[in-house]
Structures are given as C-alpha cells and as structure tokens.
C-alpha cells in the first residue's frame, strides 16, 4: 500500500485531488458504445472506467428462471483482473456477487418488467478500472444502457456516494477517501419519483451526519442526472446529423 497521507483534507478545505467537499469528480458518459449489445453505455468518473451492456428482453436462460408475469433482470457486476492495484482473480468474488444483487435491486424499480413476461434482460457491467464508487458509477451507466436499449422505464436511476473524511461530510469519494475515510454512503436515486433504490453504508456516522450525507449524495445524484440526460440526447443528435448529411 502507498504511504498513508496524514490528512485527506488540507487546511484550505480541499481534498487530495483539489476538490471541494461538495464537488463531484469529472464525469463523462457515453451511450451506444457496444455495437453487438441492444443497449450500452460507458462511464468515466475520476479514474473509474466502466462499460455496461444490455441484451434483451430475450429468451430466459436457463428457462426455469423465467417468470410468468414479468421479465427477469439478471445482473453481473464484474471487475477486470487489471482494474485494481493487485491483480484480481477473474472468478466472481463474494463482494461482486453482493454488488450484482444490490445493483439489480436498484434498477428493478425503474423498469416496466411486467411488459415482457417470460423473458430475461441481461445486464453486463465490466469495471475496466476502479477508483472508488464503482457501484454508483455502474448504476448510473447501467440505467443509461437500459434506456439506450429502448426498454420502457419510469425514470433513469442515478447513483452517487457521500461519506465522511477527516470529520467532514464529502461528496463522491475516490479510492483513497473510500479506503482511509471514516464512512461511505452510496445512494441510488430516481429524481422524478423521489425514490431511493440503493442505500448502503459502512463506517461510523451519527444520525445528524448520516442525514447530511444522504442529502449531499442526493444532491450529487441530481447533478449526475443532468449529465446522464445529456448523454442520452447526444446519441440522437449524432444520428440526426448523420441523417441530415
């Protein structure tokens, strides 16, 4: 492990990467990046680089998993062996299995699964590089990929974490802050339904700090939401330009 910095927030109140406590990392979202997939998206948030692809609705496989009244959402969150400092074995870890489950459950409320009974929607999340907050960036990209595939949705799901480092509540923790900070609260949110669809925490927070962290995370979600909608529109602006030519 690298040298542990003494302070994660300097005297001017700035973080290791120069951000203010309530500032997001630079974020880039792109839609329609995997030609074979029915929908796809790519996200860069800080040093996170994550690709998400959607296949379906298609025949359920294996068939016994199919449901008579709605589609089954299958989700695989997977980290590339080279995505972290020490090589990660490509076999799914317990962490990845848990994250696949909570990410799926954060997206299900947004999708009209009842429109596609007996089918399956496969969601493939590949983390190419991890920099803290991969589950949030994955959810943000996954909901864009689902929207890109044309599956009807109630809203986009957007996710962002808040946490506590050096006694300050901060937005969008990067890797060092996640590892060395004192709490991390990832939140997924559907802005137009005022719905929290993922909430986890580890660390220690008082009730007041927890409330501040949730509110800050939701603020962050709203900011990312604007970027998300632009990314979705950008694809069709591109298509329109091609047609016009």
């Amino acid at each position: 492990m690298n040298e542990k910095p003494e302070r994660l927030i300097d005297k001017k109140g700035l973080r290791l990467d120069g951000r203010k406590p309530d500032q997001l990392r630079p974020i880039k979202l792109e839609v329609g990046v995997i030609p074979n997939a029915d929908g796809s998206a790519y996200v860069e948030q800080g040093k996170n680089k994550i690709l998400v692809g959607v296949y379906g609705p298609r025949d359920a496989h294996p068939k016994h998993l199919a449901l008579q009244d709605r589609s089954v959402l299958k989700c695989r969150y997977h980290m590339a062996p080279f995505s972290v400092q020490e090589r990660k074995s490509p076999a799914p870890s317990r962490r990845e299995i848990e994250l696949s489950k909570v990410i799926r459950e954060s997206l299900e409320p947004a999708i009209f699964l009842e429109l596609y009974p007996r089918t399956m929607i496969d969601l493939c999340i590949e983390v190419l590089q991890a920099d803290g907050g991969t589950r949030c960036a994955s959810i943000t990209a996954a909901s864009l990929a689902l929207a890109d595939s044309g599956i009807p949705m109630r809203d986009l799901v957007v996710a962002c974490a808040a946490g506590k480092v050096d006694d300050t509540v901060v937005l969008d923790l990067m890797d060092e802050e996640d590892k060395l900070g004192s709490a991390d609260v990832p939140v997924a949110f559907m802005p137009s339904l005022n719905a929290v669809t993922l909430l986890q925490m580890d660390g220690k927070l008082s009730q007041e700090e927890f409330e501040a962290a949730v509110n800050l995370a939701i603020d962050g979600c709203r900011q990312v939401y604007a970027v998300q909608k632009e990314a979705l529109k950008a694809k069709y602006v591109g298509v329109k330009e091609e047609v016009d030519e």
Partner: protein, 264 residues
C-alpha cells in the same frame, strides 16, 4: 426457490399494516420475542442460539491461527459465513452459497467489523506473520423472517462468549498452551435493526409472511454510542429520502431497547 403467498393473505397483510396493525397483533415498530442461549455448542470456541419469533439461528465461532491480510499486518482476521441449509425452509437447496446467503453474511460481517466490536489488534501474535483468525459461522435452522437481525444478534452473542486459545512459541513454532485461553477482546455490541416497507409504512422485524409482501427492506447496525455503522437496503422496491432518515432515528431507538433487553 421463491415461496409464494396467497393473494388474499397478501391483501390482508397490506390492509392491516395500512391500519397500523399486524398479523400477530404487534405494533408496527415492535420486535417479536427474542430468546438467546449462549455456549450451547461445547466444541466451538463460542456459540449462541437465537430465537426471534419462529426464526431460529445458531452461530458457532472457531478461532485458528493464520496469516493476516497484507493491508492489515497487525490485525487479526474476521470471516463470517452463512449457511441457508435445506432444513430451514422448503425454499432452500443444498449447494454453494447463493447471493442471499452471501448478502446476509456480508451484512452481519459489516455490522461487526464497522462497529469495531472486536479489538483485532489484540489478535495479532506476530505482525505480518501470525494472527488469530475468527470464523463466525451462521447456521439458519428455521426461516421465520428477519434473518438479518436474528443472525446479527446470534453472531454478536457468540463472539461475546468466545474463548481464544493461548499460544506459546517453541523452536519458532506456535503451540497451543493448554489452560491458557482468554476471552475474545470485545469493545462494542452492535445491534442491527431491519424494517420492511409495506404499502407506505415501515414495519420493524418483519415475520416471513410480511417479508413475502414487502416492497423493500432496510437494515441499520447501531453501536453502543448510538452511531450508525452499517446499512443495507434490499428488495426490488424503494424508500423516500424522508423515510430513510426517519428510520435512522427509529433504528437507533430500537437498537438501544434491544441492547437493554439482552443486557449487553
């Protein structure tokens, strides 16, 4: 295998909760009777059986010597595993742990780890080389709903009566020193409180039928100082931000009550 519930039962539960009532006559924020027996497995270093209504969970702990993780060379290791054995429910199958048992194990683990319940630095024998490894194995005997809180109480109870064998070094080898075991160093007593969202209401300690009709669940672990130390939302529904914050207050209150009831 997912268990199904009759539509008429489903509607009954939802209607009851809407009126602030429950199937078994409890208040919305009331726990079922909880019964804890400690030290029931003599071969284990620590053990506890917890009954929460019809839910029945046994936890056994084993302490062995092992190597520390590279990033925490001076600390002992804690691992939590959950077995959802076919004995416990018609819906369980034998086999490797599925996502439900992995999630449950990781929720119990986070409550213990993040509360800093165990003084892991005291579990180090030789930094970077030899540390104690504490295995917490959660064994569900009957699934009657709210496995999370029952398993968390059982795990903490078992750790509280866990004895760590003493070691002596002989020719550079670690050997068990008979009659030298000591109490596992415990600093905190985390309590995990779970609620189910049914309709638009929050119901604490859901029993099985309530879990079958809930939209989503939310669990919070609270330490001795009323600090929240782990949270997990589950299920395919959602909570409003106001509900989340409301539940944080409720969880702190219920954890305090539970700690008093258990005499922790």
């Amino acid at each position: 295998m997912a268990l199904v519930i009759a539509k008429i039962k489903h509607r009954q539960i939802v209607q009851l909760v809407e009126d602030g009532k429950r199937l078994d006559g409890r208040e919305l924020t009331e726990y079922r009777n909880v019964k804890v027996e400690q030290g029931i497995i003599e071969r284990a270093e620590g053990s506890a059986r917890v009954r929460l209504g019809k839910t029945d969970v046994v936890v056994g702990t084993k302490v062995e010597l092992g190597e520390p993780f590279a990033d925490t060379p001076g600390e002992g290791v804690l691992t939590v595993n959950v077995e959802l054995v076919p004995l416990a429910s018609p819906g369980y199958e034998a086999g490797p742990p599925d996502e439900n048992s992995i999630e449950l194990a990781r929720i119990v683990d986070r409550g213990i780890r993040e509360s800093k319940m165990i003084d892991t630095e005291k579990l180090c024998l030789e930094p970077g080389k030899k540390v104690y490894v504490v295995f917490v194995d959660v064994y569900v005997l009957n699934q009657g709903g709210n496995l999370i809180d029952a398993s968390a109480i059982a795990a903490v109870s078992a750790l509280m009566n866990t004895m760590v064998p003493g070691y002596e070094v002989e020719d550079g080898e670690f050997r068990v020193k008979p009659g030298s075991s000591s109490q596992l160093p415990v600093k905190q007593h985390p309590v995990t409180v779970t609620c189910a969202k049914i309709g638009d209401k929050l119901v604490v300690d859901p029993q099985l039928e309530e879990e079958q009709v809930m939209d989503a669940r939310l669990s919070m672990a609270v330490d001795d100082d009323d600090k929240i130390c782990a949270i997990q939302k589950g299920g395919s529904g959602y909570f409003s931000p106001e509900q989340v914050i409301e539940f944080a207050g409720l969880a702190v209150r219920k954890a305090k009550e539970m700690r008093k009831k258990l005499d922790w």
